[in-house]
């Protein structure tokens, strides 16, 4: 009974905070002619509801792809279709073809906010509770970890403030992690494929999934491993075929969708992102030296090289704990080195960092706060400043209440305290600066650049730390449970 009460209280509070954030404005509110992500999602509802499936991704007189053309994989499109269908039932004005562009009303905003809240509560909440329960760390620890993860400000602010459905793709991915740690390879790979088919950004996590499953198959005794691999492969292919079914009628239509999903025509990064390239541009303007093709190649090579160590390690010594760390490392490498990165993509590593909360509260909380801070320019632009401050403070206070952040002893303890307080102080200074100081005329982007560079330095430190963690992980018993289960 006690646990039901705690779960209820945590969930209620998490819903409460999400809804408070959703009272704020969304991205691009009232900003004609393009608006923002909110309008993009609404536009997809309009397109998917009114047009036949095969024309969703193609440019036509009724589907101008330059105006928020669909550029997410099919599952997002199906989800948009469901929401579009509901919108049509409530008020046909909301999704009327072409005339509904830039529709912004009180009721519509409520509807859109409810769809995000629903997805969050139905998909994301359960997986968070289940995944910590699966870790067998005791009920109190489970509640604590789940609470802090649910209160991670970055995801709340982007999904319920800025407006996106990250909770769905991340939730599906976490279901994948959950199933794999229960030893259910097939379900795990299906869940991850669904995540991938909801948002292509989940590719950041694909390599660890692949390496872990492959490694496990190699490790299996006798012929089992081979059959296991075949089964997983079949599951993956079947899932993809089901998701892509309407677009498989011809090669062109499939190619067209793929082309929409991976637009290499865009720039190296959007706005100011806390990744290596953006920070490097303070010193060297890569855009001026290299052609786009060369930049893409550079990104590709550096990403691959950086991915190698953690992936190979996972492939050779597969275990659940190593898999979770590899998820962090892989997605962080993608964020720091790959081409065309959004500041919001930091959520992808951040959510897997949250899974380490009960083991390394200090590093996770630090990462949580910093990753939220790295999106500050975006949040300020969206009018979410108070929400950002409130949420982040809340997260820090909660983490101090629930966990003893001091991990080390002796000189390390002093160093840790010093680093943490300096880092928080820096963030506070930059936040206040961004809000109050007017930048000089010739440097209009002063604060966004400072925020990005400051965050990037941190992320590089985090990258080293989590690599260090992965490589020094005790060579545990390769998850006897996972292997045995398949043999019996």
């Amino acid at each position: 009974m006690n646990n039901i009460v705690y779960v209820a209280l945590v969930s209620l509070y998490a819903i409460f905070v999400r809804w408070c954030i959703s009272l704020n404005t969304y991205s691009g509110a009232g900003k004609k002619p393009m608006f923002g992500d909110y309008e993009a999602q609404r536009h997809w509802m309009e397109i998917s509801y009114n047009l036949p499936v095969h024309s969703w991704y193609t440019n036509s007189s009724v589907n101008n792809l330059l105006y928020w053309g669909l550029d997410y994989p099919p599952l997002t499109a199906y989800h948009s279709w469901i929401c579009g269908f509901l919108s049509q039932k409530i008020n046909p004005e909301w999704v009327k073809l072409n005339t509904s562009r830039g529709y912004e009303r009180y009721e519509h905003k409520l509807f859109m906010r409810y769809t995000v809240l629903f997805a969050d509560v139905v998909l994301f909440f359960p997986v968070i509770f289940l995944i910590f329960k699966q870790m067998k760390i005791g009920e109190t620890q489970m509640i604590k970890a789940a609470m802090l993860t649910l209160m991670y400000p970055g995801l709340i602010l982007i999904d319920h403030g800025h407006f996106q459905y990250n909770c769905i793709s991340l939730g599906l991915m976490l279901f994948g992690v959950l199933f794999l740690s229960q030893g259910r390879d097939l379900l795990g790979s299906i869940a991850f494929c669904l995540a991938l088919n909801y948002k292509q950004m989940e590719l950041y996590h694909a390599l660890p999934f692949f390496c872990y499953l492959l490694g496990i198959c190699f490790r299996s005794q006798n012929q089992n491993g081979f059959f296991r691999l075949i089964k997983i492969g079949l599951a993956v292919i079947t899932t993809f075929v089901f998701c892509w079914l309407p677009f498989l009628s011809s090669v062109e239509s499939a190619i067209q969708v793929l082309h929409r999903l991976f637009p290499f025509a865009r720039g190296l990064y959007e706005d100011k992102v806390a990744n290596v390239w953006c920070t490097l541009s303070l010193v060297i303007k890569l855009k001026n030296i290299l052609t786009t093709d060369h930049i893409i190649l550079l990104c590709l090579v550096s990403t691959l090289v950086m991915l190698l160590p953690s992936s190979l390690d996972l492939l050779i010594r597969p275990s659940i704990q190593r898999f979770k760390l590899a998820l962090i490392n892989s997605s962080l490498v993608f964020f720091l080195f790959s081409f065309q990165v959004h500041e919001k993509s930091i959520l992808i590593p951040a959510i897997v960092v949250c899974l380490q909360i009960n083991k390394e509260p200090f590093w996770c909380v630090w990462f949580g706060v910093l990753s939220t801070f790295s999106m500050l320019p975006l949040l300020i632009k969206d009018g979410l400043t108070t929400a950002f401050i409130g949420c982040t403070l809340l997260y820090i206070i909660l983490s101090l209440t629930l966990y003893d952040l001091v991990q080390y002893t002796g000189w390390k303890k002093s160093l840790q305290k010093l680093m943490f307080s300096m880092s928080i102080l820096g963030m506070a200074v930059l936040t206040i600066g961004s809000l109050t100081v007017k930048p000089p005329v010739h440097l209009p982007d002063l604060f966004p650049v400072l925020v990005s560079a400051y965050s990037c330095v941190h992320f590089v430190i985090f990258l080293f730390y989590f690599h260090y963690r992965q490589f020094t992980l005790a060579n545990d018993r390769v998850d006897e449970v996972v292997l045995k289960k398949k043999m019996s």
Binding site: L12, W19, C20, I389
Partner: protein, 524 residues
């Protein structure tokens, strides 16, 4: 101790998150008062009427607004212009919301004072830092996180946190035996908001009986020899000088009648737009039912004048059709009668500050039940002092749980905008689940699936009945399209349903209070 600060931190951050939520006209009222006190000389404060939201709080509150306006000018000077009626820029919202959050620290301080000085901690509880089991932290959380206060102050917009801080501080001082200070704080409170006059009888009788008579406040019989003239003079001096400080300038300017007419507007109706769930809600419904009954059987010749629906929205005077109509004088008499037994009980069986607190709550109850033009917000005058009783007796704790649940639900119509529905439901549920669970822990009563802790089956059923009621109000009624034709139905149902619960708590609390006549030491 550390956990205590964490609770404060979490609650304060939660308040920050509520900034963009719905603001009632009280927001404009307070902004207008900022403008009036900032830009006009004192002599015009109580005459200004550009906006319909004229200054109708006592002078101390006006001075508070004056102080706030000194800071407000750095946020947005436009908000300090009287002619900018209903001005709501982002900076104005930020400033006003922040001012509520910051003045709330008076309340938090008062809660801390009460919890550290007036609770006797049992056994090893001192080191317990679990907010679900430590009595100290439970009481703190129940007070600081009070859902009603959150709704009224941080969504609807008022400064009740600050005012209740003064009330709690005054109660704490009386508990400590620092009676003069207690009286001082209460006198100051009265000059901030005069609605607290309703609980003044409790103060008057208690101070007279237990302070002015030096008989240590427990003797059953009054011995007139112990009456202390020095004490009553001191008391009188303190109270009167506070009032002089407040009203003095206006008396010098010969404005007292004008100020008083602003403070006590009797032209409003018996009930507020939404009936507060008190005696008159039941009375109105009986009248309504009787009217329908009579109409059906043509028992009475009823003209159409009285058939205007009362919960339609406008504050207006209302004629009852079958039952006799109620005049202000009648409400005054009824209120007096309802308070009288409590006050007499305190006079005859003074049992120290605890009996004073009970009398104060009963005064709050009486005025809420019977006074003229009661706002639903006034329920806080009962629930917040009632929280202080939670740790003492199991039966009080049980009543508190029922009362606070009903009271918070009765505030729902205050926040009627659709966007805030999720917030108010989550907030009240959070508070209710927490209070049932933690208070259940204090008395070591486990949860069962059929019965709420500390409640009987009927009480449980009554409380759970709120769920279908709210589902009807927020889903079925608009779903059937009835919200256009019969918009008052949900309001009426809510106020009648809550009135029954509050009435029940009031009567039961009266009985509990009368049952404890003498302290144990005297009886044995």
């Amino acid at each position: 101790m550390e956990t205590w600060w964490m609770v404060v931190g979490i609650v304060t951050c939660t308040k920050l998150l509520l900034f963009p939520s719905y603001k009632s006209t009280d927001f404009d009222v307070h902004r207008n008062w900022l403008a009036i006190t900032h830009s006009l000389p004192i002599s015009k404060w109580y005459y200004e009427d550009t906006s319909e939201w004229t200054l109708d709080y006592p002078p101390f509150f006006a001075w508070l607004e004056y102080l706030l306006s000194q800071i407000a000018q750095f946020f947005d000077p436009e908000m300090l212009k009287v002619e900018n009626v209903d001005y709501r820029s982002d900076a104005t919202v930020l400033f006003q919301r922040l001012s509520v959050v910051l003045t709330d620290f008076i309340y938090i301080y008062a809660v801390k004072e009460f919890c550290t000085k007036c609770i006797k901690l049992q056994r090893k509880d001192d080191n317990n830092s679990d907010i679900f089991t430590s009595p100290y932290l439970i009481l703190t959380s129940l007070l600081i996180c009070n859902a009603g206060l959150m709704i009224v102050d941080h969504i609807h917009f008022q400064y009740n946190g600050f005012l209740f801080g003064l009330l709690l501080l005054s109660i704490t001082r009386l508990y400590e035996g620092r009676n003069i200070e207690g009286a001082l704080w209460f006198a100051a409170l009265l000059n901030f908001k005069h609605i607290y006059l309703y609980v003044a009888p409790a103060y008057f009788v208690y101070l007279l009986r237990c302070y002015c008579f030096k008989s240590d406040g427990v003797a059953a019989k009054i011995s007139w020899r112990t009456f202390s003239f020095t004490r009553i003079i001191m008391l009188g001096f303190v109270v009167i000088s506070v009032f002089c400080l407040s009203f003095g300038p206006f008396m010098l300017m010969d404005q007292l009648p004008q100020v008083l007419s602003r403070l006590f507007p009797f032209k409003r109706g018996l009930c507020h737009a939404y009936w507060a769930p008190n005696f008159y809600a039941l009375y109105n419904v009986v009248d309504k039912a009787a009217t329908l009954f009579c109409k059906k059987y043509n028992l009475l010749n009823i003209s159409d004048r009285g058939s205007a629906m009362m919960t339609g929205g406008l504050v207006q005077e209302f004629q009852h059709t079958v039952l006799p109509s109620i005049s202000p004088l009648v409400t005054l008499i009824l209120t007096g009668l309802s308070i009288l037994p409590a006050v007499l009980h305190l006079w005859v069986y003074p049992k120290g500050p605890k009996s004073f607190l009970r009398c104060l709550i009963l005064c709050g109850f009486g005025s809420y039940m019977f006074a003229w033009h009661v706002h639903e917000k006034a329920i806080l005058i009962i629930t917040i002092p009632f929280s202080l009783l939670v740790l003492d007796k199991k039966r009080d704790a049980q009543l508190f749980l029922i009362l606070s649940t009903v009271a918070h639900y009765s505030l729902f119509p205050l926040i009627f905008t659709k966007a805030e529905t999720v917030i108010k439901i989550c907030m009240v549920l959070l508070y209710t689940v927490y209070s049932f669970y933690s208070v259940g822990n204090i008395y070591r009563i486990p949860w069962t699936l059929t019965q709420l802790p500390l409640c009987s089956t009927i009480e449980t059923l009554y409380l759970l009945g709120i769920v279908p009621l709210e589902i009807y109000n927020s889903i079925i009624n608009p779903g059937l399209g009835l919200d256009q034709r019969l918009p008052f139905i949900p309001l009426m149902l809510t106020s009648v349903y809550c009135a029954i619960g509050i009435m029940y708590c009031w009567i039961k609390f009266y009985i509990l209070t009368f049952q404890e006549k003498m302290p144990k030491s005297h009886r044995e």
